[in-house]
Every structure is written in structure tokens, then in C-alpha cells.
Amino acid sequence: MAKEKAADKKQAAAPKKKGGKGGFLLTMIFLGFAAPFIFPTLILMGIGLLPTLVALFIDTDREHSTTAAIGAMNCAGLSPFLIDLWVKGQNMSNMFAILRDTNTWLVTLGAAFIGQLIVFAIPQTMVIITIARLELRVRTLKSNLEQLKTTWGPDVASNKALEKIR
């Protein structure tokens, strides 16, 4: 049974992966065509999103929740500088000016760091809350079991035939 279930899971995951590969390919084609027009943007993104790339490589989780959390914050930290580039004009000098500004690195990497902090703190907090809730539930359920035993006797917990219960 377990083997069959594992096989089913693999089969279900395969098309998802194919779709992911397809999307990545499309994105690459799009970027290939768009590169002559948005080259400075791509350079800025490539350098500014280095923490996300690092997270992507070290995140072994199948869901890539860590990458998602760091990536989202990293992107958010980079977004003001991308807007500045688009507002001032997309050229290499503007792009280098942004890169030379230490604030750019502080904000971009700081946002990525906050993302890492969230990844570290939120699961721990969730574990504490969830376990407390489960323990409360277990206590309630155990009290229900005792109540059933009081009402029907200890045989309610056994699997004896009804005719043998007296």
C-alpha cells in the first residue's frame, strides 16, 4: 500500500515539475528577447537578488518555503531601486550609480535578512502555539473517554462480543 501511495505521489508531482520547467523556459525566452531593452534592470536584479539565489541553493525543502520568504522580502527590498532606475532612465551609468550607493545594499540585504528572521521565528512560534492547542485537545478527549467508561463500563474500551459482556 505504502509503495503504491508513493508511486501515486511521484506521478502527481511529475506534471507539476514539467509545468515548472516550461514556465522557466518561457521566462528565459522572454528575458532573451527583452534583454536588449531592459539589460540594466536585469543586471541590477541579478546582483540585488543574490541572497535569494543563495537561499534557493541551500533550501532543501520541497515546498521551498524558506526561498519564498527570503525571496519575497529580497524583491521588496530591491523594488525601490528598480523603480528609481526606471524613473531616471534605463542605462548602465544609472545602474552603476545605484550599485555604488551603500543604501542600496543596506536596504536590499536588510530586507533579505528580515525575511530570514521571519523564517527563523515564525515556525518556532507556530510550534509552541500548535502543541499547546493539541495538548488541550488531548486532555479534553481523554476526559471524554473517562466519561464513556463511567457511563458504559470498562467494556466499552474492549472489543469483546456483546454477548460476553455482563
Partner: protein, 680 residues
């Protein structure tokens, strides 16, 4: 049935006998004591100061003939004590007995001892004042289907020399034939002990009348001083008429009636019709019979010479081993053919031997062989088996006496199981058709005696064969329960007395109710279950609650208290603790009311039981589901990494994404704001 009524204590200490009479325990009449019990004054109910009736209290261990009571009520003859009423009385000694109220006899006993002599009377006087009324009484009893079994001078109330008709004493207080001296019994009945004679037939009463008349005509007991064995031997050797009358001088008409009544062949013996003809002056000549037919050559058995089949039949059971030898080696058959010239009897013997040998040598083969040989040699005689000598009709009363005296009924059970009665019936000649129902009854008894289940076996046979017998169960023995409708009241009295027996139902009681109340045998199989089995208590309650519904009394709190602990296993069947407690409370209330039906409904409501089971099954399922959920929760608690992966990290990603969206939105707003400010 009329004899079921029970008594209550009336004014002046009188006890009600049935509905119409009352007996006075403080006024005994010893001179009128009967074989069945002492006599007391009695009177019609409500007639204060009178004692014109005779009460007989049946306080011996012998059962009265209750099955004859209803027939006796219909008899009204000047020469028979009229039965006024009967019923169970609660005697001052705290026991219950059966009692009869009869018309009080008008004269003293004709004789106080059978050896008492009197002056012979004139023929016409004795015929008119003694013989004629007694013949009338005999005919009346024949019409009513009653056999008296107690006709003898000491049991007749008559004052010689008066015009008053003689009166026959009662015959109901003891089993048929009990108390009758051998002198007044036919040869075959005389061979049996008193309890094994049975009720017999009309011809047996005719014989007893013959002996009574012979003594009255002669004025003495012609066989005075002889013991029972000598009397029987003389009767067998010489015939009853010759033994009793001998060389005494009697009138021709008296000799004629005595010869007719004292015939040893029941087929030839005068009956009521013959006596009627004799009274009308028609002279009948009794035929000679082969009874007492002598062999041309004697048969030598155990060193003694036997000249007749009847005397040889009486001797064979005394030495079974020797008897089996002469039966199997053919010497008896040869004697029957050559010396007795009786081929039919010899053929019957050979046929019987063939059949019984083909069946194989089973237990008690030798006794069976001898018993059947005795039946062939003396067809009208009693059954002789393993030391017991009993008429087929006497098996019933002998069974009762054996059980009541604490003896083993094993031999009687073997007589029934070996179908000796059916064989006896087959061997009879002219009166065979009249005896067929008897044979069929005992064939049915054989089937019942072989059933070992509760309520069957020998106990059931006892009640089947004795229709008027009270319940012999030790549980209700002191209560004299004659009918199922008296049982519940008896139980209530026992329960209230505080001296109740440990058991409520035993094999006797079960058999009594199966026979008298036509109750299902299956019910008693349930009652026979072990104490822990709920079927037992429910079975008992089903039995008694139905009786309460049908016969009353409506409230039996003491009995209910007695039964209540037996119902605990039935209540334990319920699975819900709260339901059990509620049922126990309701049961206590029903017990206080003495309502057996309500108790049964509480203990055995199929819908309640089914609902309880369904609820229990649902509770069990719920228990399992809760256990599964607890296991799941505990596994989650144990596996924190799973919580982090499944809940924590997705939650962190969600929060980060949410914050990022806000930051991107803020960056766009900042750029838009700078653009607006720049253009101004």
C-alpha cells in the same frame, strides 16, 4: 375443578371445606375414622350449632382420589354416603390437608372387625334390607364410572334388624384398594401389596360385595385366623367360592349370587346387570371357567410341585436364575403343551422368547424374561418384576407412594420403560379392547420417562398417571397444591412465612405445571439453566406472571421479593450503567407493588435491550474514534519538525510575502509621490 377450593377460618374455629361445608377441628369422631384419616364433625356452611355432616381429614401421606371427586358428586343413592363438598383446609397444626364433607352415617358400623360374628338372618330379611340396597349402590357407582374398592362389612354402616338401608362408607380418602383386606380382593389383586392394586374395575367391586355377602349370610368370617398368604393359597387352590362357602349350608339363591360374584374369572363374574336380573328373580347359572385348571402332571420348580400356571407364575420370580433356565431350555414350554394341553400359551411363550432374544441381552434381561413369562402364565395376574408385584392400574399409586416415602422409583420406571404393561394388555383375552387405552397410555409414558429434560422423566409420569395428585414438590408440599391456580397463593404464603426454600422451581413443580397447566417444556428448559443465566430468572418470572394474570392474586409482594434476586443476571444483561440503576429502581417499585408482570416487562423488554445494544455499539465506535484522534494529536506533539514543515514554514512564507507586498506598494507610492513633487 371443584376440588381446588381452599379454606378460610370461620367463626368458632370451623374451617371451610369447599364452598358449602365446614369442618370442626375441635370435635373429633374417632369411631368414624377412615383409612385415609381421622373423622371430625362437620356442618353445612353458616348453620351454627349443627354437626350433621362427617368430615374426613386426609392427613396421611397417601394421596386421596381427587380424580373421582367430580364423579362422586353426581352420585346420590341411599346406600352411599353423599359427598357434600371437599377442598384444602389450613389445619390448626399449620399444615394444609385435603378434607371431605360427607353426609353423616345414620347407623353405626355393621362390624367393627371382620372377624366379628352375628346371628344369621332370615333370607328374605337380608335380601330386602341388605342385599338389594347394596346392589343398587353398586349399580349407581357403575353408572357413574366409580369403583369403590372398599366394600367390606367394617366399611358399611348398618344396624341389623332395622328397616334402614345400609350405607357404604366413603372411598375417596385413600388410593383405590388401599386398606382393603386381601380377603375382599380378587386373587390377582390380592397378590399385590395394597398400594399396588390400583383402582381396578367394576368386577372387583362385585367380588368384594360377594365376599361381604358371604360373611353376612354366614354370620361369620369363614377364613377367620388365616393370614393373607394362606387365604390367597386357598383361593388359588380351591377357587374363591369354594374357599369361602365350603360346606356351609346356604339357600339356593344365596349360593347362586355368591357363585356369580365370587367367580375368579373376571369375564364370568356377575356385574350390576346380572345382579339386577337376580333381584328380579331370573336365575342365572355361572359358567365354569378354566381358572384353576390343573395340569395332568405337576411341574417341579425349586423342589416344589406346581399344578397350575397361576401358582407357577407366582413362584417363578422367587428364583430368577432357575426360572430363566427352564424358560430358555424349553422345559416350561413342553410342560405347557403336554401337561396343561395349552398350545396357545406355549406358542406365546416361544414367540416372546424369540422376540426378547432377538433384541439382545440388555440390562435386566433375565428379570424381563421372567416377568413376561409370568404374564403369559397368569394373564390376569399382576406384573411381577424385580421383587415388585403390581397391577398395571396400581403402578400410578405405587409410584406416588414410593416417591412420597423417599424410595427409588427405579424398578417402576423399568416396568414402564420395558413396556411390560403393553405386553400385559396384549396377553389379555376377552377384555383386551377395554384395556387398549391403558396400554397406549403406558406407551406414551415410556416416551416421557426416557426424556431427561426438566419437567419430564419419572416426575412427569407421576402426574400424567395420577390426574388428581397434588404437587409433590418439597417446595410446596406443606401447602397442598392441587391445582396450578393454587400455586401462586401458596408461594406467597411461603415467601411471607420467612421460611422459604432456596429454590422456587424443581423437577416436580415443572412436571406438575406441564401436565396440569399445559405449560411449554421449553420454558422449563430455560428455568433449568444455571443461576447466572438470565434465562432462568426470566423463565421463572414468565411462568409466575402469567399465572398471576390468569388466576391471581393481583399482588404478591413477598413472592416478588423472593424472585427479585433471581432477576439480577437479567438486569446485568443491560450494558448501560445508568440504565441498570434506573431498572433496579423501577424493579424495587414493582416488587413493592407485588406486580410480577411489571417486573417481567422491566427485566425482559426486547426493544429496550436492542436499543441498549445499539447505544453501546455507538459508544464503542465513539471511544475508538476518540482514541484515534488522541493518537494523532500525540504523534503531532512528538513530531515538532512536522509542525514546522507543515505549518511553520508555509506560515513564514505567507507573512514574508504579505510584508513584501506592502513594501513594494510603499516603494511605488514613494516613486509616484516624488514624481508629483518633481513636476510641481
Amino acid at each position: 375443578m371443584a376440588y381446588e377450593s381452599t379454606s378460610s377460618v370461620l367463626q368458632g374455629g370451623a374451617l371451610a371445606v369447599g364452598q358449602r361445608a365446614e369442618i370442626l377441628p375441635s370435635v373429633p369422631i374417632p369411631e368414624l375414622n377412615s383409612i385415609g384419616g381421622p373423622a371430625f364433625a362437620a356442618r353445612m356452611k353458616g348453620v351454627e350449632g349443627s354437626s350433621d355432616l362427617l368430615g374426613i381429614l386426609c392427613n396421611t401421606s397417601l394421596p386421596p382420589r381427587l380424580d373421582t371427586v367430580n364423579s362422586m358428586r353426581g352420585v346420590d343413592h341411599v346406600s352411599l354416603l353423599r359427598l357434600i363438598d371437599s377442598g384444602v383446609v389450613a389445619w390448626p397444626d399449620n399444615n394444609r390437608y385435603y378434607a371431605f364433607a360427607f353426609q353423616r352415617p345414620l347407623a353405626p358400623r355393621f362390624k367393627t372387625s371382620i372377624d366379628e360374628t352375628h346371628t344369621p338372618m332370615r333370607e328374605d330379611t337380608i335380601n330386602h334390607y341388605f342385599v338389594t340396597p347394596l346392589i343398587g349402590a353398586l349399580q349407581e357407582m357403575q353408572r357413574a364410572g366409580i369403583v369403590h374398592n372398599g366394600i367390606r362389612p367394617t366399611n358399611i354402616f348398618w344396624r341389623p334388624g332395622t328397616a334402614m338401608a345400609p350405607q357404604l362408607n366413603e372411598c375417596l380418602s385413600v388410593p383405590g384398594g388401599y386398606g382393603q383386606p386381601v380377603l375382599f380382593e380378587t386373587i390377582e389383586r390380592g397378590l399385590c401389596p395394597p398400594i399396588g392394586r390400583g383402582v381396578g374395575q367394576h368386577s372387583d367391586d362385585c367380588y368384594a360385595l360377594g365376599v361381604t355377602l358371604a360373611m353376612t349370610f354366614l354370620g361369620l368370617n369363614p377364613l377367620q385366623g388365616m393370614d393373607d398368604a394362606s387365604i390367597l393359597r386357598l383361593k388359588i387352590e380351591r377357587g374363591s367360592f369354594a374357599a369361602l362357602v365350603g360346606n356351609h349350608r346356604l339357600s339356593a339363591s344365596h349360593i347362586e349370587i355368591l357363585r356369580g360374584l365370587l367367580s375368579d374369572d373376571a369375564r364370568q363374574r356377575w356385574s350390576g346387570n346380572d345382579l339386577d336380573q337376580w333381584l328380579n328373580g331370573r336365575r342365572l347359572t355361572p359358567k365354569n371357567t378354566d381358572t384353576g385348571h390343573r395340569a395332568s402332571r405337576h411341574y417341579d420348580f425349586c423342589g416344589k410341585e406346581y399344578w397350575s400356571t397361576r401358582s407357577l407364575a407366582a413362584a417363578l420370580p422367587t428364583n430368577v436364575t432357575e426360572a430363566v433356565q427352564i424358560i430358555e431350555n424349553g422345559s416350561l414350554e413342553k410342560w405347557l403343551r403336554r401337561a396343561m394341553d395349552d398350545d396357545e400359551r406355549a406358542n406365546n411363550l416361544v414367540e416372546m422368547l424369540t422376540v426378547i432374544s432377538a433384541a439382545g441381552k440388555t440390562a435386566n434381561y433375565e428379570e424381563q424374561l421372567v416377568a413376561r413369562t409370568c404374564i403369559i402364565l397368569d394373564p390376569s395376574g399382576p406384573l411381577r418384576y424385580r421383587g415388585i408385584c403390581v397391577m398395571p392400574g396400581g403402578i400410578s399409586s405405587m409410584l406416588v407412594e414410593t416417591v412420597m416415602s423417599g424410595g427409588s422409583p427405579q424398578i417402576l420406571a423399568e416396568i414402564i420403560a420395558n413396556q411390560l404393561v403393553a405386553f400385559w394388555v396384549e396377553t389379555q383375552q376377552d377384555i383386551k379392547t377395554e384395556l387398549v387405552p391403558l396400554g397406549q397410555q403406558f406407551e406414551r409414558m415410556k416416551l416421557l420417562i426416557e426424556k431427561t429434560t426438566y419437567g419430564n422423566g419419572i416426575e412427569r409420569v407421576i402426574y400424567e398417571l395420577n390426574p388428581g395428585l397434588p404437587c409433590l414438590s418439597p417446595i410446596v408440599a406443606s401447602q397442598y397444591v392441587v391445582s396450578p391456580r393454587m400455586l401462586l397463593a401458596a408461594f406467597e404464603r411461603l415467601a411471607a412465612s420467612g421460611n422459604r426454600p432456596p429454590e422456587l422451581v424443581d423437577r416436580h413443580l415443572a412436571a406438575f405445571l406441564i401436565v396440569r397447566d399445559q405449560r411449554s417444556e421449553l420454558l422449563f428448559e430455560a428455568i433449568a439453566a444455571p443461576e447466572s443465566d438470565p434465562r432462568r430468572g426470566i423463565g421463572i418470572l414468565t411462568l409466575l406472571s402469567e399465572m398471576q394474570y390468569r388466576y391471581g392474586p393481583d399482588s404478591t409482594p413477598a413472592l416478588a421479593q423472593w424472585i427479585a434476586p433471581m432477576l439480577e443476571p437479567a438486569i446485568q444483561r443491560f450494558l448501560g450503567k445508568a440504565l441498570k440503576e434506573k431498572l433496579r429502581q423501577l424493579m424495587r417499585e414493582a416488587v413493592q407493588r407485588g406486580d410480577l408482570s411489571a417486573m417481567l416487562q422491566l427485566a425482559d423488554d426486547p426493544r429496550r435491550i436492542e436499543r441498549d445494544k445499539q447505544d453501546f455499539t455507538a459508544a464503542r465506535m465513539l471511544y475508538l474514534n476518540i482514541q484515534k484522534e488522541i493518537a494523532l494529536c500525540e504523534s503531532k506533539i512528538q513530531n515538532k519538525e512536522l509542525v514546522v514543515r507543515s505549518i511553520g514554514k508555509p506560515m513564514a512564507a505567507s507573512i514574508s510575502t504579505f510584508l513584501a507586498i506592502i513594501m513594494v506598494f510603499a516603494a511605488i507610492l514613494r516613486a509616484v509621490w516624488q514624481a508629483i513633487m518633481g513636476s510641481m
